[in-house]
Symmetry: C2
Subunit: 362 residues, 2 copies
Amino acid sequence: MPTSVPLKPEMEIERNEMTSRTLTSDNTSSPVSLLGLIEGELQKVEARLIAETRSDVGAVRDISGHTLLSGGKRLRPALAILCARTAAAQRTSFVYPEDRVIAAAAAAEMIHMATLMHDDVVDEAPERRGRPTASAVYGNSITILTGDYLLAKSISLLAHNDENLHVVRVFSDVTVTMAEGEVLQDVIAHNLDIPLETYEEVIERKTARFLAGCCETGAMLGGADAAEAAALRAYGHHLGNAFQIADDLLDFLGNPKKTGKSLGTDLRDGRVTLPLIHALAQADSETRESLRVRLAPPGGAMTDADIAAITATIQRLGGFEAAQKVAEERTERAIKELRRFPASPHRDALERLARFVVARDR
Amino acid sequence: MPTSVPLKPEMEIERNEMTSRTLTSDNTSSPVSLLGLIEGELQKVEARLIAETRSDVGAVRDISGHTLLSGGKRLRPALAILCARTAAAQRTSFVYPEDRVIAAAAAAEMIHMATLMHDDVVDEAPERRGRPTASAVYGNSITILTGDYLLAKSISLLAHNDENLHVVRVFSDVTVTMAEGEVLQDVIAHNLDIPLETYEEVIERKTARFLAGCCETGAMLGGADAAEAAALRAYGHHLGNAFQIADDLLDFLGNPKKTGKSLGTDLRDGRVTLPLIHALAQADSETRESLRVRLAPPGGAMTDADIAAITATIQRLGGFEAAQKVAEERTERAIKELRRFPASPHRDALERLARFVVARDR
């Protein structure tokens, strides 16, 4: 008889009543209609996430639930489902494997949740999306271990729900790559001299390949042929790069009420992202030196004034404009990959999703 | 072009020259002959571990290498190989899938290494087996992320090396269970009132099922039929329980030079294990109270004198004897499962391994 040690029994109630803030809900800046098309499927993903993380160890259930409830946009599940539907729309007399798509979508979100939990421990983040992080509430130890649980559970879910190994390969490989990207990001933190290629390598590994993997998996399950799967994979890849660059811009320019994190959070963690790299490349030696001091103040912690000054300098040197342009170019490349598919509600949603990702007011 | 950021380039040399302290080497207390039988195969596991963790992110490679070099006994790979060979010895005209067995053995060790790395972060352990832990050398952040890398890599290795999903299922399921066991252990830390069943649940999840999974996987790859696979799984399960109880005894009675960790390390982490549970059940109320004070000294940290006094009390109350008896019973149950197999060098090695695990001077 397994021992259940619930930390906070009331979480169970919350979990059951959970209405997640997906991209379909109207409390985000996204148009309600953006993913309304797949709202029913996204709700099945939610139900699956809850069912799969109902561990008989109470604390595991509670911490998983805490992270599930933290208001994720469910971008990865949405990509998997939309790509599956886009591919399937090409096929006649194809039996759409909804359950396998939902399982893959849920597994993708579990991997994402696990990496967020470990990131929050690594970054000592008190909040995410305006809610306390799991590590802040439950402590680092249990959060690390529950992250491991979710990583393993995602693979277990896939291995028990699929008859071929391909999906397991794709998801385990992207997880390997993501961990490498996170390590690389950690190693180069606070280094203002990193070349553009290293930044590109980090976002490629920590974001782009994962989104590409979600799209490829969806496509495969939707019956795509090799060329179609490659196109949707490429869509996800470009979208992932655009998404991460846009996310990096929000660290300087976002509305904390919408993003749920304070301005300059990445900057304080020593993350040198595209706007800053562009600005540093444009700066004269005096400006570079003043940026350097602001970024590693002799007193220790960066102040809000430091962040405001760095932001103003990047603005003046065109760093935000340049980064936004790169993100938009990536979006256009993503959308181009969709052209091989005839217009369909799901294909169009992928296009709108790509444009939404780089919208300045998201 | 991936960016490589080696933290310590000299690690690479060490890795290449690595001679691990497996159960075959003579610098452990085990008989040299114990696993000499499969020394060649264990060397292939070592080579595979090095090859698979040769990440192009330098830090990932170095930290994986650091943990690889920390002198593990390779118990899990040995179990997988010995069970595969024991099962295969039953078959005529069976083509032994050595490469798949080596891959599964390496994957098992990678999962084990990943959990050790995360454990060391959770326990803030400065040393393991007499060497500084990865977290002590490289810091918690990169160690957590490299643990994730190893977890994902183990699944990726299996998914790319095997044509059926069963091995992935077994290993992802045991990893789920292990994480749950670790969380449970963390939740009940410092609680002297935990029932025996909860202790059993923890060691079942964190150790026994993993060893059972290694044996079952080996058996399956060795061509075992369902009954044979179940017997070897049961062997691993009983062995795992015996092994963990023996390990818990070593925290009180081991030779730190052999175990590589100070006496009372688990005790300081608040782990209430079988000898103490037995002692608490036997103690009168005064002794219980004095144990309570020693275990949570008003000053904060437990001293060596506290540990010596607790050890003496457990000794007096027969806690070690009782725990040793349980471990030996488990060993006998493990060995009993081997009876269905005719005598063979590999079967005999499994039997010796079971006896070695509970030997007091290991």
